[in-house]
């Protein structure tokens, strides 16, 4: 059984999350200093590849720039105000969405294969697949009988 510390208000947890939200702005890996908003990212490692999931709702996939240079993966782009399909007569009452430029940067191990990076967009999530070089993949060694 997992032990969980008694925390009646969940304040510590919220504090941690807020610290995390803030630490995203202007840290070294992301340099969000000039960014209008910071997309959330999951990074997952498989035997043969790294997989990134980047939340970019309402962003045109063609407007996202992904580069891998010397092991540094940079994801950047920009978004403006959301389009109002119901016509220009709409008046904004509330706006919570971050606007403008975004960029995030990650350092990847040099075993990745920069030539074979693939990216697709699914329901506002950018899925970036970065294969590892063949020599970096785990190999099974058969024991001779």
């Amino acid at each position: 059984m997992q032990m969980v510390r008694y925390n009646p208000w969940g304040v510590g947890e919220l504090q941690n999350e807020i610290n995390r939200l803030f630490s995203n702005w202007g840290d070294t890996e992301s340099s969000g200093a000039t960014a209008g908003w910071v997309p959330s990212v999951d990074i997952q490692e498989f035997d043969t590849r790294f997989q990134l999931y980047v939340d970019v709702p309402g962003v045109d996939p063609d407007a996202v720039d992904i580069t891998l240079d010397n092991g540094v993966l940079t994801i950047s782009g920009e978004r403006g105000l959301p389009a109002m399909p119901e016509g220009e007569k709409m008046v904004h009452r509330r706006s919570e969405r971050g606007q403008g430029q975004f960029h995030r940067r990650f350092i990847l191990p040099d075993t990745v294969d920069a030539e074979k990076v693939k990216a697709t967009d699914r329901h506002g999530v950018l899925e970036i697949s970065i294969p590892k070089q063949a020599k970096a993949q785990p190999r099974r060694i058969k024991v001779a009988a």
């Binding site: 999951d42 939340d55 119901e86 709409m90 008046v91 919570e96 969405r97 967009d121 999530v125």
Partner: protein, 167 residues
Amino acid sequence: MSTLHQIRQGFSKAWDSFTEGWREFRDLAGDALTRFQPKTARGDVETAEDRIVSRASRWGLLAAEVADNDDSVQVMLEAPGLDAEDFDIEVRDDILVVRGEKKLAREETRGQYHVMERAYGQFERAIRLPSAVEDDGAKANYRAGVLTIILPKSRTARPRRIAVDRK
């Protein structure tokens, strides 16, 4: 100027910019900060999915845009990575409630996570609308991770034009 004075000034500047940033953040996104609950009562056996979800962020930002004109209210909610059928939308007078569950895809459970900032699980977001609406004739669609809901205003909430008779 003494070094101590400079440090003090630097600190108070940093503090100002922090509090300003905090206020701005709270004004802009305070309502968007939404709690994600891992789905419980799935049984006694903890699955790989449960384990990963329990490690993920419990808070996500679901940013909303609300706009209106004379006839209808339009709400756009950013909720990337779901499917259209994962949403449950309810309206009560001038409150719109959007519930949903962000699931972890099966393929995602196999690898090892190095960074987990995205939240998974069930969420509920209530948005106060600028006027009362009718659920009859409401429309919703989900595209590029943005849920768009258009709700007709209730008859009493619409401005009425009264023509003046000319004699």
